[in-house]
């Protein structure tokens, strides 16, 4: 029988993969994808919790919000990537260091 624990464990694993990808990959597009994975890991945790504690639908509601925010984030993020590419002719994040103190 698959329980809440399994879902949460999967969510945790996904989130960790996303976090590691986010910190280690220098390609901005890949970093954005990693963020997407983390968001979806969290979504999974929310809907799973909602499935096992269905008194209200707070989990699902929050998942919808997360999806909306993820869409907005992707739009803004991709726009930044395009701008970056126009200026630097690259999408590697370690070459975008104009803000160094």
């Amino acid at each position: 029988m698959i329980g809440l624990g399994h879902y949460l464990a999967l969510s945790g694993v996904l989130f960790t993969i996303g976090a590691i990808g986010f910190t280690t990959r220098r390609n901005v597009l890949v970093a954005l994808m990693s963020i997407e994975i983390m968001l979806n890991a969290v979504n999974l945790a929310f809907v799973a919790a909602n499935r096992f504690r269905p008194e209200n639908h707070a989990g699902q509601t929050i998942a919808f919000f997360t999806i909306a925010i993820a869409a907005a984030e992707a739009a803004v993020g991709l726009a930044i990537v395009v701008s970056l590419f126009r200026v630097k002719k690259t999408v590697r994040s370690d070459e975008a260091d104009a803000m160094r103190g």
Binding site: T23, A31, D97, G101
Partner: protein
């Protein structure tokens, strides 16, 4: 005839010059000289007409009408009871002052239109704006119905004198003369302010209408340890300090001779109609207060007498035409102080009025001479000007006669009245009348001498003028000559309203000074013969002074004076260096202050402020910035790493169990409540026996002991979750 003078019209008198100052100050540059003159002269002339109406209104009002008052608005409340109004009050004394200020003032304004004609438009407008502001301030001063309103005018004339003395501010000497006038006046103003506050503290009011009834509040003594003074004495001495500043008496007279730096009509305005008369007016205005303190009165008289002689000795040897007149002003103001100091308030004010006439005339005359000679002020380079400047010479002669006290002129009556009262009035100390009288008499001899000398050296004898200058002599314009003629006529005839025993002037001021009459009076009855004898003595003093000057400077062409100077070079040197008082003040006040300023600059400003505070702050910021800059890499992946690190720490902090609980004793049993957390389980030991209660781990954060507890108990809580364990202990009694 009933003259219609509504009280509100009182407000117009100062408002007109104020409006003139405002318009000339803001737009004068663009209006052109004609309009500026019209505004400047017109506003003061209108104020003069209104003042005349006020005077007639007072005169026609009968016995009951002793004053007109008008309240403009409520200013502020000091205490719920003591409300301060911006109120104007015109009684018989104010009315006289109004006429002098606006009358002589408008003549000076008129004269200025010609004298200042060579200024450019902006300077001309600025000049008239200041001049009108000056008149406004002085009118506020004489019309104010309470000490603070008077003080506003008092400060106003101080400010305007600064502006006008430093009118040609591009020359450093002029600018510093203005500064000197302002600063010396500020010293006096501080005394005035103190005196004012003493009065308020004791009497609870600033109001001139209420104060006279409360003078008994000022009689109690203030203990200073080894001596005590009445509040009245204390307040009056402070006020006297203020008066010495404004009216140029010892020790604060030093600014007035330097005030020559301004345009000559300004000197006339400062010396005659406004400003310097403020101190005398203030003492006269507060006569009811000063008579409460015989000691302060004696001090006023002594300061006046000392100044009268002291300034006269300096005037003896000065060679600048304006300097001689300046010291003569200081000296004449001394006489006014003697007048008010011996309780002859009307005589002091009378001399103020007559002095306004002849001193304004002398200064304007001097201005005409200077103007004619293209700015020459040294009387050694004048002489023989009589045929060239006919009217100037005649009016100057008339005023010289008046200031020296030639019988029949205004100065004769006013000065003689002061001399006589100085001798005849009672004073706190028996020796005071004699000392004051003798000083005044010596001063009279000196005055006659130096004024005659000034007149003779300027207008008579051989011409020592540069022939080139003489060729291009500026003739005074009619706008300069008419004021001179009017003022000279007044200087000759104004005394007729003050003939002793039939004095219209005294009668006019009687309602004002009536209340003080019982405090001051003659020591005892003197016969008319005695009085006449003293009059003869005054005339004798005049004759000696004038005759000596005539012999020395006309008959012997200045040789005796030169011989005397050669025989006593050090005395001569001391007098022409003005007793070195400026140097003394420089040594004991200015330089020590400069040292203090320099030391605090080096120590405090340089080290504390500049180094520690300013540079120190910058250094701290720079250092912190250098350290912190290291983590600001600008690389997104570094930030993302720290973000994930932070997230991990947050998750760890939230999930790691932390044991914490509160405990209380209720009905003899212990109740405990642990803090909750995700996945927490709890294990309790409530009786300190190191054995767990309730059979081990429970998810319930609350627990109550099953048995009653007594004494000190050691409670213990263990918490566990999938992420770890924690425990804590607590004592309860």
């Amino acid at each position: 005839m009933e003259l219609a003078f509504d009280p509100w019209m009182l407000g117009l008198i100062p408002a007109l010059p104020a409006a003139g100052a405002l318009v000339n100050g803001l737009f004068g540059k663009h209006l052109g000289k004609q309009a500026v003159s019209m505004l400047g002269v017109g506003s003061v002339a209108m104020a003069f007409l209104l003042s005349l109406l006020a005077l007639l209104g007072l005169a026609s009002g009968g016995e009951e009408t002793t004053s007109i008052s008008w309240t403009a608005w409520e200013w502020f409340r000091i205490t719920p009871e003591a409300m301060l109004r911006v109120g104007l009050l015109c009684d018989h004394l104010s009315a006289v002052m109004l006429l002098v200020v606006t009358g002589v003032g408008s003549l000076i304004h008129l004269y200025s239109t010609a004298y200042m004609h060579e200024e450019d438009d902006a300077g001309y407008a600025r000049y008239f704006a200041y001049l009108n502001l000056f008149t406004f301030s002085m009118l506020v001063l004489v019309l104010g119905d309470s000490l603070p309103v008077l003080f506003v005018g008092w400060e106003g004339v101080g400010l305007c004198s600064y502006l006008l003395i430093g009118f040609w501010f591009k020359d450093t000497a002029n600018a510093s003369a203005g500064k000197k006038a302002f600063i010396v006046n500020r010293v006096g103003d501080f005394g005035f302010l103190l005196g004012m506050l003493f009065i308020f503290r004791a009497a609870g009011t600033f109001d001139f209408a209420v104060l006279p009834a409360r003078t008994e509040y000022l009689t109690h003594a203030v203990d200073f340890g080894f001596f005590d003074l009445s509040v009245a004495t204390l307040a009056c001495v402070c006020l006297l300090v203020g008066a010495t500043g404004k009216s140029a008496q010892i020790p604060l007279y030093v600014w007035l001779p330097d005030a020559m730096a301004g345009p000559t009509p300004v000197s006339a305005l400062i010396h005659a109609a406004t400003m310097v008369t403020a101190g005398v007016y203030m003492v006269a205005r507060l006569h009811f207060l000063f008579v409460m303190s015989p000691a302060a009165m004696a001090l006023v008289a002594l300061v006046g007498a000392a100044t009268a002689v002291f300034a006269a000795t300096i005037a003896l040897v000065q060679n600048d035409i304006k300097k001689v007149l300046a010291y003569s002003t200081v000296s004449q103001l001394g006489y006014m102080f003697v007048g008010v100091g011996v309780g002859a308030f009307d005589a002091g004010v009378f001399h103020l009025v007559t002095h306004a006439f002849f001193k304004a005339c002398l200064f304007l005359g001097a201005g005409a001479v200077i103007h004619a000679l293209h700015g020459e002020q040294d009387i050694r380079k004048m002489g023989g000007l009589a045929p060239h400047l006919k009217w100037t010479r005649l009016t100057f002669l008339a005023s010289t006669a008046a200031i020296a006290g030639f019988p029949g002129t205004a100065g004769f009556f006013s000065k003689d009245e002061i001399l006589w009262k100085a001798y005849a009035s009672g004073a706190a100390y028996a020796w005071v009348p004699y000392a004051v009288y003798i000083l005044c008499l010596v001063g009279a001899v000196l005055t006659a001498f130096y004024m005659t000398r000034l007149y003779l050296l300027t207008f008579e004898g051989k011409s020592r003028v540069d022939p080139h200058v003489l060729e291009h002599l500026h003739r005074p314009a009619p706008a300069m000559e008419v004021p001179l003629q009017i003022l000279a006529a007044l200087a000759l005839t104004a005394g007729l309203v003050g003939i002793p025993h039939h004095s219209l002037f005294e009668h006019w001021l009687h309602p004002v000074f009536e209340s003080s009459a019982s405090f001051v009076g003659l020591r005892h009855e003197f016969t008319i013969g005695t009085e006449l004898g003293f009059m003869v003595l005054s005339v004798l003093a005049l004759s000696i002074g004038a005759f000596t000057a005539y012999t020395w400077y006309v008959k012997e062409d200045g040789r005796p004076a030169a011989d005397l100077a050669a025989r006593y070079p050090r005395a001569y040197e001391l007098l022409s260096a003005r007793w070195r008082v400026d140097e003394l003040y420089d040594r004991i006040v200015v330089r020590p202050l400069g040292t203090v300023a320099r030391v605090s600059f080096e120590l405090f400003d340089r080290i504390v402020i500049d180094t520690v505070l300013v540079h120190g702050t910058a250094a701290v910021v720079r250092f912190t910035g250098a350290v912190v800059r290291g983590i600001q890499t600008g690389a997104v992946h570094t930030y993302s790493f720290f973000m994930v690190l932070g997230l991990a720490w947050t998750i760890w902090a939230v999930t790691t169990p932390e044991a914490h609980f509160t405990a209380e004793i209720q009905d003899g049993r212990v109740r405990v409540q642990a803090s909750r957390g995700p996945g927490y389980e709890y294990r309790w030991d409530l009786d300190g026996d190191r054995q767990t209660n309730f059979g081990g781990w429970t998810p319930n954060p609350q627990a109550t002991s099953s048995t009653e507890v007594r004494g000190v108990h050691r409670l213990r809580l263990e918490v566990r979750s999938p992420w770890g364990t924690d425990d804590t202990e607590q004592e309860i009694r």
